[in-house]
């Protein structure tokens, strides 16, 4: 672990890859079946967010806005615009839940959204996500916590086969599905909150975009209280796990900072073996572990020759850096969107909270850049190798199927990183 810089006095973001809290909240609500995310703020936040996710997932995105205007911003405390929004949404569709989340505008004037929601006779979950605080990861995490706190019924019994998975925001649909399947392989019934694996991953519904389709159902969330186990993935999700334990003190909790790479996956397997009393995992798990060992050896040479810059949300940053580190890849700089306790644990020479201008300034310190779509321009300008990860990726299709987690995904990530690293060998630097 190297130097960590949590705070800087730069007065602006230049070429930001940071995303906002309300966007994380929207995405979390999209992991709930038949949900209508309702963003409380000006219409633009919603419109931008909708386009943003549509382009990333190539899927229709359900979302509505309370469309606060300047006059309403001054005169209304949310009573009018939220009540009207619910009225207008339910005129057209019947969501199982309306996910009300805020932006900077109503938070600046201090709207009491919980108070307003209480007066509306419709199932709602509310969460305060001003975009002048936190970021994408915290918006998702806060929403997950709100879903748990406001929906899950308390319980005193536990069903030892029932396991709740709390994935962090940067896990793509296929990754959530793979983690679920992996754990199911040990005999558990796994429910993920939120669950993008079935909602934002390739399906052609007849009634597209009206509401989210797929994801965990509201009824399933309500009855999570009797789960015997909760597994949180990503440090941002710890509080959600604690919130769930408050619903049932008998529930056991296991936390993983991430599930990338051999070591982290081994830890998960150890826990699952212990919990089940099994002595061996399913055959496919053992088979993939062998493949990952092989992948690490096959890729270590080119990984070890190159230096990496990784730019990501804190939980994903920790995950990717660890994967590379396990196989000898040297991360010279890790850039996080926001501060997080996770930063102290990241396997990189230098960890900073910053933007992509920082990546440009450090141009001489790395050969390959791993990050979102906005890194493409830098990679091109500076002749760096590029592995696209994180939100958004508007450059490529198939984002929902990018799998970096567990033994299996670990193979794909290492191969992609190693192939990118070695394909840059011929490039003459300008």
């Amino acid at each position: 672990m190297g130097e960590v810089i949590h705070k800087r006095d730069k007065p602006l973001q230049v070429n930001p890859f940071k995303l906002s809290q309300p966007m994380g909240a929207t995405l979390a609500f999209l992991g709930v079946d038949k949900c209508m995310p309702l963003m409380h703020g000006g219409q633009g936040c919603t419109s931008f967010t909708k386009v943003f996710f549509t382009r990333h997932f190539c899927e229709p995105i359900a979302i509505q806005t309370s469309a606060v205007t300047d006059a309403i911003a001054i005169l209304d405390g949310g009573d009018y615009s939220i009540v009207e929004s619910v009225k207008n949404i339910t005129k057209k569709v019947t969501p199982s839940l309306i996910g009300l989340h805020t932006t900077g505008l109503p938070e600046t004037k201090g709207d009491d959204i919980r108070g307003v929601a209480r007066q509306i006779e419709f199932p709602m979950v509310t969460v305060n996500t001003p975009d002048y605080e936190g970021g994408f990861e915290s918006g998702w995490a806060k929403t997950c916590k709100a879903l748990i706190e406001q929906l899950v019924e308390t319980s005193e019994v536990v069903n030892d086969n029932k396991l709740v998975l709390l994935p962090h925001v940067s896990l793509q649909p296929i990754e959530i599905e793979k983690i679920k399947e992996f754990i199911e392989g040990f005999g558990f019934n796994v429910l993920a909150v939120p669950d993008l694996s079935s909602s934002l991953d390739g399906h052609l519904g007849e009634k597209q975009a009206a509401l989210s389709s797929g994801g965990i159902s509201v009824d399933e969330i309500r009855s999570l209280g009797d789960a015997g186990l909760v597994i949180s993935v990503g440090d941002s999700m710890q509080e959600s796990a604690v919130a769930l334990q408050h619903k049932n003190s008998e529930m056991r909790h296991h936390h993983f900072s991430h599930l990338n790479g051999l070591v982290a996956t081994d830890c998960l397997v150890e826990v699952l073996l212990e919990e089940t009393g099994f002595t061996r995992p399913p055959i496919t798990v053992a088979r993939w572990r062998q493949r990952l060992q092989d992948a690490m050896l096959d890729s270590h040479f080119s990984l070890g020759q190159k230096r990496f810059l990784v730019a990501a949300e804190p939980d994903q940053l920790a995950a990717i850096c660890q994967s590379l580190h396990d196989a000898g890849g040297k991360v010279t700089i890790a850039i996080a969107t926001v501060d997080s306790p996770q930063l102290e644990k990241i396997a990189a020479d230098k960890v900073i909270v910053g933007d992509l201008e920082d990546a440009e300034i450090a141009a001489n310190e790395y050969d390959v850049i791993i990050g979102n779509f906005h890194c493409e321009a830098i990679a091109h300008r500076l002749h760096k190798g590029l592995v696209l990860r994180g939100f958004p990726n508007w450059e490529q299709v198939g984002n929902a199927l990018k799998n970096d987690v567990l033994y299996e995904g670990g193979c794909y990530l290492l191969f992609e990183a190693a192939n990118t690293a070695s394909s840059r060998n011929e490039v003459k630097h300008a």
Binding site: K10, Q43, F48, L105, H374
Partner: protein
């Protein structure tokens, strides 16, 4: 704040033809039933293409985080292309409580020190407008300090729609840039291109033709634009509004202030491109230019027809249903007709009255103007035996269910369909769509569902 445009005035635009029929301002969105973008997005669309200026968004992260590097507005600017860079103050709780002004001042200093742009546009957003940060004063002081224009843009998202924001963007350029500098030389054929943003290089499809005719593009708002040029825009002989109704107030004011007449036209499709070029020549009022333009149009049309011939054979008898909005309801329809495709229906739900009239004109009496395309389009495909659906991504399922070809016209297009040569791009893309077996293959039923 004297520099703030009066929004009410902008919404009551006398140059807007159909304004007589509209009593209430069209900018009140319905909570829970709104899909459009906000004023900030509109302002961004109209001003971001200036690649030699920095665009500093004074607000929290959503505004810029979602929106930078989303529009492929081409530029020939040799310096660092600032349209593809993002600058934001990313205001924090501390700024909200204690004001974000100090941070903004420092951010401008930072940008000037590190990127020395020709100008800085400072965009207010909902949060910073609400807390009352005085961007006018900060811009004024910074302009004096650095000796380059600092343009406050008062188009916070909550003031209204995207369209209004584009107007406000235009107002900002008019108030702070236009008329602040004299051109090095003037020609009798100097024009401004207004509302052409050069997305995917659209304007480069026809600017070489203008050049050939001796028509000089003095400035643009704002495709491939330069700050130095727009500052001299008051010396143009003609304002050409390209496919954008949002900037009519700007051109009206330029007429009042500087006596510059304006015309509005489109460069989509063969007929509209020709009409557009001829209209510019006509408006510039020079006989030789008129003759020259007619000759050039004839030459270009002949050249295009020759290249289009194989496509036209291919498209013969093909019918299309078009489901889009705004001026595309008729401009793309016209382009399709130029390719020999029959447009049997076009959606006019998201179109102005003016656009609806033009759509009727373009499609003729037989064509269907869909007021509720979501419901109507599937039925119309059956009834007319259409071969092609051009729409936004949401309609993909309709096309697959009907087993017909689909082309996405709403998503960010990858290459230009503008001007004469753009029509060839469109022809090629549509031919590929029609020949693509994917739509039929995807529509196959699973073995277990047969």
């Amino acid at each position: 704040m004297a520099s703030k445009p009066k929004i009410k005035e902008l919404l009551d635009e006398s140059a807007c033809e159909h304004n007589k029929t509209k009593k209430v301002a069209c900018n009140a969105p319905t909570p829970g039933a709104t899909t459009g973008g906000c004023a900030f997005e509109g302002a961004q669309i109209s001003l971001f293409p200036y690649a030699d200026a920095a665009h500093l968004v004074h607000g929290p992260m959503t505004c810029l985080g979602t929106s930078w590097e989303t529009r492929a507005t081409g530029t020939s600017w040799q310096g660092r292309d600032l349209t593809q860079m993002g600058f934001t103050t990313d205001v924090s709780l501390n700024d909200v409580v204690f004001s974000g002004e100090e941070k903004l001042v420092k951010a401008i200093d930072y940008i000037m020190e590190h990127y020395s742009p020709e100008a800085v546009f400072v965009y207010a957003t909902c949060v910073t407008a609400l807390i009352g940060d005085d961007i006018d004063l900060i811009c004024k002081q910074a302009a004096e300090n650095f000796g380059v224009p600092m343009v406050p843009v008062h188009a916070a998202g909550f003031v209204g729609s995207k369209n209004l924001g584009s107007r406000l963007g235009g107002e900002a350029a008019l108030a702070h840039l236009v008329g602040t500098k004299e051109p090095q030389e003037s020609t009798p054929f100097d024009i401004n291109l207004i509302g052409e943003y050069n997305v995917t290089g659209d304007m480069w499809q026809y600017t070489p033709l203008l050049e050939e005719l001796g028509i000089r593009v003095l400035s643009t708002l704002s495709g491939d634009g330069r700050i130095a040029d727009i500052r001299t825009a008051h010396r143009a002989k003609l304002n050409v509004i390209v496919c954008a109704k949002s900037l009519v107030s700007l051109t009206r004011k330029m007429k009042e202030r500087y006596g510059i007449p304006s015309i509005s036209l489109s460069f989509y499709g063969k007929r509209d491109t020709s009409k557009g070029l001829l209209a510019i020549a006509e408006a510039l009022g020079d006989d030789d230019l008129n003759v020259g333009t007619k000759a050039l149009v004839a030459r270009e049309e002949a050249r295009l027809e020759e290249k289009l011939a194989p496509y036209k054979t291919f498209f013969q008898g093909k019918k299309a249903v078009l489901n889009t909005g705004g001026n595309k309801t008729w401009s793309i329809a016209a382009a399709l007709q130029d390719l020999g495709i029959e447009v049997v229906a076009t959606a006019v739900k998201k179109a102005t009255e003016d656009d609806r009239e033009k759509a009727r004109e373009t499609l003729g009496d037989k064509g269907v103007l869909m007021m509720n395309p979501g419901v109507e389009q599937a039925k119309l495909i059956d009834e007319t035996g259409a071969d092609l659906l051009l729409a936004g991504g949401r309609s993909l399922y309709t096309a697959i269910k009907k087993g017909i070809a689909f082309a996405d016209v709403n998503q960010e297009k990858k290459r230009s369909y503008g001007g004469y040569d753009g029509l060839l791009n469109l022809a090629e893309d549509l031919k590929n769509a029609l020949q693509n077996p994917v739509f039929k293959n995807v529509a196959r039923r699973a073995p277990w569902e047969k």
